[in-house]
Symmetry: C2
Subunit: 135 residues, 2 copies
DNA sequence: AACAGTATGTAATAATATAACATTTGAAAG
DNA sequence: CTTTCAAATGTTATATTATTACATACTGTT
């Protein structure tokens, strides 16, 4: 039920693109999505990019900037995408969204001397994941 | 003197590219650099991208991922680029590197439950700068 | 039915980045 | 000084990522 509520107002193309991203275990690139949805009638880049743009606005996906790739948002309450953090393994390239209250509280309330009020942030951590650290 | 020490081991192309970026008051895009260095004999993208890659490795510039653009590092002690934070105005697009010990201490020591050890991070804050907030 | 806002389809092209290979340079070691 | 090796350069071509522009269709109001 909660799941249906999350998704029932997506348009056809938005739903198709979202499904691809949600089912992937790793970040998906725009042209990889395009390739995978050709069979569903989506043929051209703008169709994909428009869906991506809307999904980001809705907070259903995030863009991992350092990889130009997209992941589904894991936190069900992430209605609007304004605070994102990822951990990225430099060897296996696994990307995980970080859900950590201490981190988000710190960053959401962060202010520096510039007098700028921050509404949004994106943080990407790089390092070695558990598995790759061992090898 | 300190300045010379900072720069004397850059190669010709690296120095040319670095000069462009350092003199700019805003992030510079790779192809904008390319356009500006044609007169200096740099003619092709790989020449620019190779210089950028090296300069990033040296910590002399950073890439602002959300803008695909490059800025000179402001903190003179930033020998190796491993911890970067920027504030980005959503209206005027001004980008400023954030140097804040509380922030960098917090992020450098951050650990989450994933067991991943972070060596590096990039953080981009978005909001309205002082000027744009008023208008 | 008329309207407004959103979404779609399509062709073309812009912008960003890398691959591959030949050549040159510069510093260190013999 | 010359051999050597890593780094840097020059060059052509191409891969990858993203947007512009414009025509059409769908959806939910009034």
């Amino acid at each position: 039920m909660a799941k249906m509520q999350k998704e029932y107002n997506l348009s056809k193309n938005q739903q198709i693109v979202f499904d691809i991203i949600e089912r992937s275990s790793e970040p998906v690139k725009a042209y990889s999505i395009l390739y995978n949805v050709k069979k569903k009638g989506i043929k051209a880049p703008p169709q994909v990019y428009r869906a991506l743009e809307k999904l980001i606005k809705l907070g259903k996906i995030h863009k991992v900037e350092s990889k130009n790739a997209f992941v589904a948002c894991k936190s069900s309450n992430c209605e609007i995408s304004k605070a994102t953090a990822f951990s990225i393994c430099e060897i296996c390239e696994k990307v995980t969204e970080i859900a950590n209250n201490k981190l988000s509280n710190f960053l959401n309330s962060f202010e520096d001397k510039s007098g700028m009020k921050y509404k949004k942030y994106n943080l990407e951590f790089f390092g070695l994941c558990k598995k790759c650290k061992k090898t």
